[in-house]
């Protein structure tokens, strides 16, 4: 087929994720995110649509930059409350067979020894369907909860992250041989001790002297996802990530980001297509363009503007409560917001853009593709994005759930399948095998340096 398109459902264990306010829509189920039924419904829809994974965002902390208090985020349910994403994975795995699970987990507050154990446990229980979205934390309020004065410096966090990965790679790839777990009932031997190795690491940020607590899983290292947009983040992604989640306002900008990511992968000894790149996308699809536009107009009525600005304030560090909703967008100062403002105003320079538009446009974390239309219209656009920006797929922002995702699965996916750009059945095996053809990391990945046992020794 022509270039394949992959889709993930981008979700969060919170009422409001990228579009705060939609929880109040009469047909939206997000307010029930604290029940098992919410997640089994999501998983069943996603697997029916042959999505690769449910990608679970997470944030540690509250959005209290806006006005210096979390009130706007709280009123809107904007990423608050924010429950642990891990416990919903087994629920979703129990009702699916192929769907993958990307879990955001910060390495700043968890010991590598224990986080490695959790991912390995889940990789066993899901039979190789785990991905880890590696983050270092974004909110000072979270760092204070974790007993720190605040987040460390950005680049320093990535340096610590590089070391953290070396430790977990060693545990996942180097502590147990594939044939260590023999379960030999005749000989009454469960594990061959000579096929298990102690990992010793002493570094600037982490010390560890231990045997990994879990035998090798289908993937060993979970599929490595990453979403950092800074130079340090991209360099980290180039070195480690197998899938990268990006945002961007225009095809040329996104194309440049993708080129840069693939270049950085090659610079670190990997191949350009060792990285699958997913663009954030808000998709509203309906049988006709007119119906889709109507639905979009309806959804927009539920947007919570202060809640949206509270998220933007948290991400940028700029307190947007200092501006009125109808104040001109040009009044907003602060470097972190200028590229977004530019992206908005260049669309239609003559229009009197306001802070309200900023909230609007800033949704979905600065917004990737925003597509409204019939299956034909949206499919055309997705193909343009993929071809012009060298993308592998899209992370679909949660809009009104479940109807938004159901429309994608029931209307858009068949259209893409009829064009030969979307799978009609899942590939077999673990998540990495579905994406790259093999369940384990390739030898050129840095994790492979930690392998201590040959495949057939």
């Amino acid at each position: 087929m022509t270039r394949e398109i992959r889709l993930n459902a981008f979700h969060m264990n919170a009422p409001g994720h990228s579009w705060p306010g939609l929880w109040a829509h009469p047909r939206d189920a997000s307010a029930r995110h604290d029940t098992p039924e919410y997640w089994t419904q999501l998983a069943r829809i996603a697997e029916r649509g042959k999505l690769d994974a449910v990608f679970l965002a997470d944030v540690i902390g509250v959005y209290d930059v806006y006005g210096g208090i979390p009130d706007a985020a709280f009123r809107a349910g904007a990423q608050a409350p924010t429950l642990d994403p891990f416990p919903v994975v087994p629920l979703m795995a129990a009702v699916t067979e192929h769907l993958g699970f990307g879990v955001t987990a910060t390495l700043s507050y968890e010991r590598p020894y224990l986080l490695a154990r959790r991912f390995s446990t889940l990789d066993h229980l899901t039979r190789g369907r785990m991905a880890w979205n590696i983050v270092t934390g974004i909110l000072d309020s979270g760092a204070k909860g974790a007993g720190q004065a605040g987040l460390g410096a950005h680049d320093e966090r990535y340096a610590a992250a590089e070391e953290y990965l070396e430790v977990v790679y060693a545990l996942w790839e180097g502590s147990w041989a594939d044939d260590a777990l023999v379960q030999d009932r005749e000989a009454r031997q469960y594990i061959r001790p000579d096929r298990v190795r102690r990992i010793s690491h002493r570094g600037a940020h982490y010390d560890l002297d231990a045997i990994h607590l879990v035998h090798p899983t289908p993937q060993r290292t979970p599929l490595l996802f990453q979403a950092g947009a800074s130079a340090a983040g991209r360099n980290f992604a180039g070195g480690h990530a197998e899938a990268v989640f990006i945002n961007g306002h225009t095809r040329p900008l996104v194309a440049e980001t993708v080129r840069d990511l693939r270049r950085r992968a090659v610079a670190r000894g990997r191949q350009a297509d060792d990285v699958r790149v997913f663009l954030g996308a808000s998709i509203i699809v309906a049988p006709t363009d007119a119906e889709a536009r109507d639905r979009h107009a309806e959804y927009e009525r539920w947007i919570d503007y202060p809640g949206s600005l509270a998220l933007l304030s948290g991400w940028s560090g700029i307190d947007l409560s200092r501006y009125g909703l109808d104040e001109p967008i040009r009044h907003v100062t602060g470097n972190a917001m200028q590229s977004l403002i530019e992206a908005i105003t260049t669309r239609s320079p003559e229009r009197a853009w306001t802070v309200r538009d900023l909230a609007h446009f800033g949704q979905a974390g600065g917004r990737g593709a925003f597509l409204v239309g019939s299956p034909t219209t949206v499919a055309d656009e997705l193909q343009r994005w993929v071809e012009e920006a060298d993308l592998d797929g899209f992370n679909l922002t949660r809009l009104v759930f479940p109807e938004g995702l159901e429309a994608v699965v029931d209307l858009l996916v068949p259209e893409l399948q009829s064009r030969g750009v979307f799978k009609t059945q899942y590939a077999p095996g673990p998540l990495r095998q579905k994406l790259f053809g093999a369940p384990r990391l390739p030898d050129r990945h840095p994790a492979a340096r930690h392998r201590a046992f040959g495949p057939d020794r």
Copy 2:
């Protein structure tokens, strides 16, 4: 009815738990503990038998005191590999309605802010069925994995634990009012910010300045379980625990432990029956005494002695590999083992007890009740234990699974029910309500001091 007896299934996400070696028994399923089906089967059997909870042991580290290496534990699958217990809870919850889940989690390696979030998330998803078995770690090998030189001093760990609990109590009980989460679709308000409070704590071991990330759960604080046997451990239990898991060799000894626990609870401002005490119990029940004895003899053939000694060595810190299996038990030196040796030898002073007997007898962590017989025989014994030692119930050691637990559920439970000492249906509501009649902690519990919002303000 006369005194009620409660049962929990004592399990672990590992092939060998208290009786290493049984995994190799042809009818044992423990080697499949890394699959979802193992756990859903366990949960269904436990709920069919109206057990209160599955109590999940955990250990961070490997048993490497025996000979200075983990080889004996590894060969036997003795608490190795040891997977994370948390991910199996949602699997079990999905196929049950009333069964509770006691998860062992060490507070030594996890930040209170994040552990509190995980338990709250699970208390929502299970609709109030969570219990936390509070531990501080027992293996130096685990501390080294967590980046420490070793375990801290025992009493110092309990001092840190006291502080840790103050922090999580404040998050669970004091950060959100019950009416904070309004989900008012008309007013488009999800959370009332004035009903949410920031928790600030600066202490010797923990700093935190944060709002709990999760809205109030059915129980708020999970049911608090504890299993420490030392004086510091019992004092901690008296102050905090709602359920205590103990072991002991004789009814008089256990009775004294129970009296001491209840005394310590009263000394800390609680009531004697604020603590439910569960004794570890290995039960082999069959239609007749003779059949039960046959089954016992059969199970014993699968015991892995070096694996059992590796566990004993890890718990006691005494390297038992220095002794031959047939060496007289009196050769074993080291204070930590003397009470166990005494318990063994006083049973039959004329017998030539050996190190093999120590392994044997030391199973189930020093062994609580060990009962083999028909339903009538075992029920008689359980009632004697409960009455003479003032117990509330038993934590049932995993033997050959599932047949061992199925025999309890299908043979013993009906016998206890016919005697009027075992529930014929679950009480409604969360786990704490089932055990104590109310879903939340009583006002006299120390956690209640952190309540900042009245019930109807």
